[in-house]
């Protein structure tokens, strides 16, 4: 009489089994993603060789055929896929059709800045979200609540490029206190790196924080009315501590899922931010490669990002299990009834 909505059997080694199963599922999923990307790319109209040669000038079909053969595009699709995957497994990510640089080094060069930007953006978003959603509750300020509401609306309504340019116009063009571009590697000059990071990270952070705040405020309101919060208040814990220690952790849990999913959105948002701030990141690498149909670059880069996404979500799921004890101990009454 399994509880029909529950997973399979729990037990002592359930956690390890669960992790293993999730890992297995993730691998399967990555294979799916790789096939999906591969197919999706080949469904796109347009052809890397035509783009490379530039159709505006007329194309010699023989030359094009030669080029296609060189790039392996004349092979049957399954063969191409096989070549790519075997290459991947042996650590060869392929070679850009255009610059001839190998994809590994292209990614290597742009992964750092992307990580910087996304991490900073996500951190900032989380910080903004937590502070802005908690503050009105802690201070019981209706006004602050309204301001945060306005901020959320603005954050959801205005596309990132608008924020980007407004920031640049104020801090860079008008006040001249922050550089709008020219990414400096962290290893070279951390301080300068931080200075250029501020505005793009802020732009990304604002855009990402808005939906997070919405989730958080909704679940905060829900948790605030719960019995156990009343217990905490009844213990004489100061309001601030009640919110931080009792309301927030419970409210953060559902928001965590949405944060995991946000990782995907980070990239979409990051592309535009990267464009506006000329940030040498993977987002623009992907979009540029899509425009050129540089399959070699896109497929490996997207797969890499998909792997990151899968990993992050795996971690989020596991974290969820750790943070929510009701899930951690498989075998609670409702879980075990499998």
């Amino acid at each position: 009489m399994s509880k029909w909505w529950e997973g399979s059997k729990g037990g002592g080694a359930a956690m390890t089994a669960y992790i293993l199963r999730r890992l297995g599922a993730s691998v399967v999923m990555l294979v799916l993603v790789s096939i999906l990307i591969f197919v999706v790319l080949r469904l796109l109209p347009g052809d890397p060789t035509v783009t490379k040669v530039g159709a505006a000038q007329g194309i010699d079909p023989k030359a094009l055929l030669q080029l296609r053969t060189e790039l392996g595009l004349e092979d049957p699709i399954p063969v191409q896929y096989w070549d790519w995957v075997t290459g991947l497994l042996s650590g060869d990510l392929g070679r850009s059709y255009f610059s001839q640089f190998d994809v590994g080094s292209l990614i290597g060069a742009q992964l750092g800045p992307t990580l910087e930007l996304s991490l900073a953006g996500v951190l900032l978003a989380v910080l903004l979200a937590v502070v802005l959603s908690v503050l009105p509750t802690v201070l019981r300020s209706k006004w602050l609540g309204r301001i945060v509401g306005g901020y959320t609306t603005l954050g959801m309504a205005a596309p990132p490029f608008v924020f980007g340019i407004v920031l640049i116009a104020i801090f860079s063009a008008q006040l001249g206190i922050l550089p709008a571009e020219n990414h400096v590697p962290l290893t070279e000059d951390p301080l300068a790196n931080l200075r250029v990071l501020i505005m793009p990270a802020l732009t990304l952070g604002i855009c990402l924080s808005a939906p997070l705040i919405r989730y958080l405020r909704a679940s905060l309101a829900e948790v605030e009315n719960s019995q156990h919060v009343r217990t905490a208040v009844g213990k004489g814990i100061p309001r601030r501590a009640v919110i931080l220690r009792h309301v927030l952790p419970n409210a953060l849990l559902p928001a965590l899922t949405s944060l995991g999913i946000t990782v995907g959105a980070v990239l979409s948002g990051a592309v535009v931010v990267e464009y506006v701030f000329r940030w040498p990141g993977l987002g623009s690498l992907i979009v540029d490669s899509v425009y050129k149909r540089d399959y070699a670059v896109i497929q490996s880069t997207v797969l890499l990002l998909a792997a990151v996404f899968v990993l992050v979500n795996l971690v989020v799921d596991l974290l969820y299990g750790v943070l929510d004890p009701r899930l951690r101990v498989r075998g609670s009454r409702k879980e075990a009834a499998a």
């Binding site: 530039g54 000038q57 007329g58 194309i59 023989k62 094009l64 709008a180 000329r278 425009y291």
Partner: protein, 501 residues
């Protein structure tokens, strides 16, 4: 307020002369990225900027649209223009230290001429039958058919170390005044001065060519002074941008054209009347005003010759903007009210195509014809036209063509019928083919002029494409830029540029 009519800011073809200070790094911005550095595989306008900085050809452009000595100190031809001998400079070295010799030049020519080469310049020198290195400094080029303009046509054969071409994206392998410091595809190309350059020492310490995918961000950078030159600015924003002491640079006599290509082999545009109708439906003046902020020259004669060019046939009848006429002609050609035509445009770049497309759309609407505008990103746009010979019924494809404003160049690029850039499937009358042959074979003189006039008349009558106007790239530079100049087809020459002292 408003705009249109006369341009608001006067444009120049060269940034002021005057004392230049040594040093400084010039930041050059453009909306498209450089994807690779093999000079003989350059296909996008974004990379042509580098051609004069990293590499040299046997000859190079002068501001007068003539070939000037570059790696070749001099050249001469046989009287029948079928054999050319180039005398090369001595002691020139590639950036990697290897000596440049006639044998090296031959390697480059051979690479371009290989059957499966995709070099764009290949079309220009397709009449070459053999390239021979007589000795280290003598290069002989034999032709199948006469070419009086070979020194011009070889300009774009840029010399690079073919033996090390695999590493071209790491070292560029050129001989030019600047050498490569770093290259991130689609992002930046950093150049530093080549201290062992054979020619005039470059004033700048370096040039950074960088990409602004977001045009507003680019404008901001230019306004804040972070950027020194912004190439290919959207005409709309030129007025505001070229203020505050900044200068607007563009070709003196633009030899680039905004055109709509038509499929002349399928209905309705297989009917010359339909093509003429379209030409009459195009409000060229409004299009130049709105789309090009007045910097374009309308071409009502519908030929790819700038009306200001001395070779332009002033007697050609103009296809004036006349919707009634257009409506009538369309009706006669089987395009009644209620028909739909397609406008194939590019997304993301060349936004002015869309602007002029909308003007046409609105005008056609007035005569009951729907123009369905379809924007496509670059690859889809290109793929549409490959392979050649496809049918495009009822479609107008916006495109941009640039030539050297010389008769044979016009002819070569367009009207040969067999090979060229036209997606129009046009089969020219014999009269036209003869004229083209005459232009190619003869040097300057009355014979060539007459043939050129004939060719223009055929185009004006047959309208294989619609030429909306003669337009040019607009670039905006900071006021202190010196020594840069714009070539007729749009390339900005920075090899001698520097900052005002």
């Amino acid at each position: 307020n408003g705009g249109g009519g006369e341009p608001d800011v006067q444009a120049t073809a060269d940034s002021g002369s005057g004392p230049v200070r040594e040093g400084g790094v010039l930041v050059f911005g453009q909306t498209d990225g450089v994807t690779q550095l093999d000079p003989n595989k350059i296909s996008s306008a974004a990379a042509t900027q580098l051609q004069t900085l990293l590499w040299n050809g046997l000859s190079k452009w002068g501001p007068d649209n003539l070939a000037k000595p570059d790696l070749a100190e001099s050249w001469q031809s046989s009287p029948d223009f079928k054999q050319w001998t180039f005398r090369l400079r001595q002691g020139v070295k590639y950036h990697n230290g290897k000596a440049f010799t006639a044998a090296e030049a031959k390697k480059n020519f051979d690479t371009v001429l290989q059957p499966n080469s995709t070099a764009q310049v290949k079309a220009k020198i397709s009449m070459v039958s053999a390239v021979t290195a007589k000795d280290d400094t003598t290069l002989v080029i034999d032709l199948k058919t006469p070419n009086p303009e070979l020194p011009i046509d070889v300009i774009d054969v840029k010399m690079s170390d073919i033996d090390d071409i695999a590493n071209v994206n790491r070292n560029a392998n050129g001989t030019g005044p600047y050498k490569l410091k770093s290259f991130v595809p689609d992002q930046t190309v950093e150049l530093v001065r080549n201290d062992t350059y054979f020619g005039k020492r470059a004033p700048l310490d370096g040039i950074t060519i960088t990409r602004y995918a977001d045009s507003t961000a680019a404008q901001t950078a230019l306004r804040s002074g972070q950027l020194h030159v912004l190439a290919n600015v959207t005409p709309d924003v030129v007025k505001g941008l070229a203020a505050d002491g900044r200068q607007l640079l563009t070709a003196a006599e633009p030899a680039a054209y905004t055109v709509w290509e038509l499929d002349t082999s399928s209905p309705p545009f297989d009917n010359p009347k339909a093509r003429l109708a379209l030409s009459h439906a195009a409000n060229r003046q409004a299009m130049m005003d709105a789309g090009y902020a007045g910097y374009g020259v309308p071409t009502p004669a519908n030929v790819v010759v700038n009306p200001k060019n001395k070779h332009f046939d002033q007697a050609l009848p103009a296809h004036e903007f006349n919707l009634d006429r257009a409506k009538q002609l369309f009706a006669e050609a089987g395009v009644p009210e209620g028909s739909t035509l397609t406008f194939w445009a590019k997304a993301g770049s060349n936004t002015e195509w869309l602007t002029i497309g909308q003007i046409l759309q609105e005008d056609l609407r007035k005569i009951g014809i729907t123009l369905d505008i379809q924007s496509n990103e670059n690859s889809t746009w290109s793929a549409k036209f490959y392979p050649k010979g496809k049918k495009f019924p009822g479609m107008l494809a916006a495109n941009y063509l640039s030539f050297t404003p010389l008769p044979d160049s016009y002819a070569l690029a367009w009207f040969e019928g067999k090979q060229g850039t036209c997606e129009c499937n046009w089969v020219p009358p014999k009269e036209y083919d003869d004229a083209v042959a005459a232009i190619e074979a003869s040097g300057e003189g009355p014979q060539r002029d007459a043939a050129f006039r004939t060719a223009q008349q055929v185009l004006n009558r047959e309208n294989p494409i619609i030429v909306v106007g003669s337009t040019a790239f607009l670039s905006v530079a900071q006021g202190n830029l010196r020594g840069a100049w714009v070539q007729a087809e749009g390339t900005l020459h920075l090899e001698e540029a520097g900052f005002a002292a």
